[in-house]
């Protein structure tokens, strides 16, 4: 019988059946965040083409992107960046630095660092409303 690397049909079902440990979820998340970020680069490049249409078009667009809704999306996107970046380092450690022996500990560090920087970025992006909120309480 010919060698089949994957079942021709139903690979989603097959993949879902596997028992998943932390590393499997990291693998799935790495792929999903990677696809999401690639789609976002396309969007980013397309959005900035307004620079070729002069000052008015660009500043108009940036006004839209400064609204709270877009600020929130910008913040949410950073979670994909952080996970993909830190888990990417983990993958490189596994490949090049004997990381298979300690990749679970690294995964914990990945999640902690990602959450800390995500919260930090949230503060930076929303520092104005946050400062205003605390000023109004005081």
């Amino acid at each position: 019988m010919a060698y089949r690397p994957n079942p021709p049909q139903g690979w989603i079902k097959t993949n879902l059946k596997y028992y998943k440990h932390g590393g499997s979820w990291a693998w799935i998340l790495h792929r999903l965040t990677g696809l999401g970020l690639t789609a976002y680069i396309y969007l980013h490049i397309y959005a900035l083409t307004s620079l070729t249409q002069g000052e008015k078009a660009f500043d108009e667009e940036m006004k839209l992107f400064s609204t709270p809704f877009f600020k929130f999306l910008e913040w949410a996107l950073f979670s994909l960046v952080l996970f993909h970046a830190f888990n990417g380092v983990r993958i490189i450690l596994v490949d090049w630095a004997n990381g298979a022996r300690y990749h679970k500990k690294v995964l914990a560090v990945v999640y902690v660092l990602a959450v800390v920087l995500f919260v930090g970025m949230g503060y930076l992006i929303f520092r104005e409303p946050i400062t205003n909120l605390f000023a109004s309480i005081r």
Binding site: P5, N6, G34, T38, I45, T52, E55, F65, V89, L117
Partner: protein, 116 residues
Amino acid sequence: MYVYRSSRGSGAPSWVLQRITGILLFVVVIAHYFIMHSDPASGHTYAAVLARMHNPFWKMFDLTFITVGLWHGLNGTWGIFRDYDMKPWLSLTIYGIIILSGIAFWVLGINTILSF
């Protein structure tokens, strides 16, 4: 010693490059986020972009950033599809979409930067 024999490339060069560009992007994307996306009020006016684009460093930086970022993203996307057993026509179609859209958006981005 392991000897690779196949009509298809082993993918080793793109595997190494994926890691090298990944290390680059680790630094650059996080820095980009803190510089450009942590405060929407700064550096986002047309005048600010114009000033930055007259600095050869930032111009080269952005040209490299677009190229490396797109390559890493699309090489990764193709890497995901490569994992699955596809009929040749489907594989070729997906590869074609990745290459053609990649070139189109690369030209679009480069054109924006070089318009200054």
